[in-house]
Symmetry: D2
Subunit: 142 residues, 4 copies
């Protein structure tokens, strides 16, 4: 990992090393200073009853996209954790890939705030999220 | 499924029939009119880096606990979906079971609002959630 | 009032007729389909201890800006009320006018969702808001 | 002000010294370690069109009740400010006093989290709030 501005390949590597996210199949689609876009490939295994992409999948994508968006500004070495997250579910995604873009609106030394949007390739805006992250000091583990 | 007040066994059956939740291993611990408690068994596969239970697992538990809590008042036949959910992550859970209790604070014909708390067997309050659910009319699919 | 697309003057008239908002001195600065910007003139009477603009003033501005933003799409005759509102306070405003812009992200027949930002002339982004409005049916009063 | 556990009279004094809250007429009804109840007397001047108590009044009551609830645990000398607040408006209050009770769920050295409920004397639960407060370090002003 690095203190320098990470590339898309660096963020993809972070994602690949995070075992508990493997089942979701997220990939890094794009990044820029302060933002990151993930692709959530369509997978019947992530469907809710009725054939819609589960809300947990959308929340997970938003959470991870913001985590990586913070790294675009702070590097990959610091330890940031979600402290607060709100999701509005606006439409259902059906049998389509979802793109989730997170944007940092304010970045402080100890906290970060931003928004994320999940969009379906054909359905448009599926969910809107606001997230607060907190930086965990070295030496603390929580 | 039934229009009558579901028993704990009825709610357990709903959970068992929901395929995408299988990986989480949630079980119904208790229910009463307007509330439901789930157990989230400790599972290393659900850990985040650092050995803590992932936020997605806690959010998933809260979402499902509220879904079942609404059923305790409205039966298992209606179709309710999450429209809004906010989570405050207060502490990290470590290598312990988590209990998540959801309580309905207001139940209308078309929307329901309530809170959920995730507690670790030894850590105390881990996360606090507020959720809004909307009833999907028969004939609609979203 | 009118079912047609309201002009800035129409929205200013709605604001002028809303007695309980008078103390805040909000004025309509701009509008477009799906968005509305209010000006909150600096007023020492709205200060919190320490000389900062009170959070209630920022929340009030966001709430009203969204109300008017919905009118830009739905006219001024329907009755929409706030059903949910979340505010992140990011910086303090000091002795300066505040501009608050609300944008509708999703507008349905019965509910609307959007964001609002309060910005200080010199301080930048002060607060970020997400709001859900519900349409009250004719004949109901709540 | 004092570092010791404040009495109801101490909290009433804090309220009386906060000029910008005067128009609301809030009074301290009760307090205990970690909680505080405010009374919002009915006042036609705080009504929204249609004769209902304005949402801003309810949000203001919740914000202040939490501020005082934190003081019951931390004394009246520290400087705590609202960093995040979410309100669900559940029912309309009509021509009645409102009681707002805030409860601290987690209190850390730098942040506090809790809930508040606004109840009408006859209407029941009007609004449910979740709030995060942050401690401002001495020497900083924002």
């Amino acid at each position: 990992m690095t203190d320098q501005t990470p590339t898309l390949a660096d963020l993809a590597e972070v994602l690949a090393q995070t075992a508990f996210l493997k089942p979701y199949g997220f990939t890094v689609e794009a990044c820029a200073p302060g933002s990151c876009t993930l692709r959530v490939p369509f997978d019947p295994a992530l469907e809710r009853p009725g054939g819609i992409v589960s809300g947990m999948t959308l929340m997970g994508a938003a959470d991870v996209a913001m985590w990586l968006a913070i790294m675009t500004r702070r590097g990959t070495r610091e330890h940031w954790v979600t402290s607060d997250m709100k999701t509005a579910f606006l439409r259902s995604a059906r049998q389509e890939d979802v793109l989730c873009t997170a944007s940092v609106l304010k970045l402080g030394h100890r906290s970060a705030y931003g928004t994320a949007e999940c969009r379906g390739a054909t359905s448009g805006l599926l969910a809107h999220h606001v997230l607060t992250y907190a930086k965990v000091d070295p030496g603390r583990t929580g």
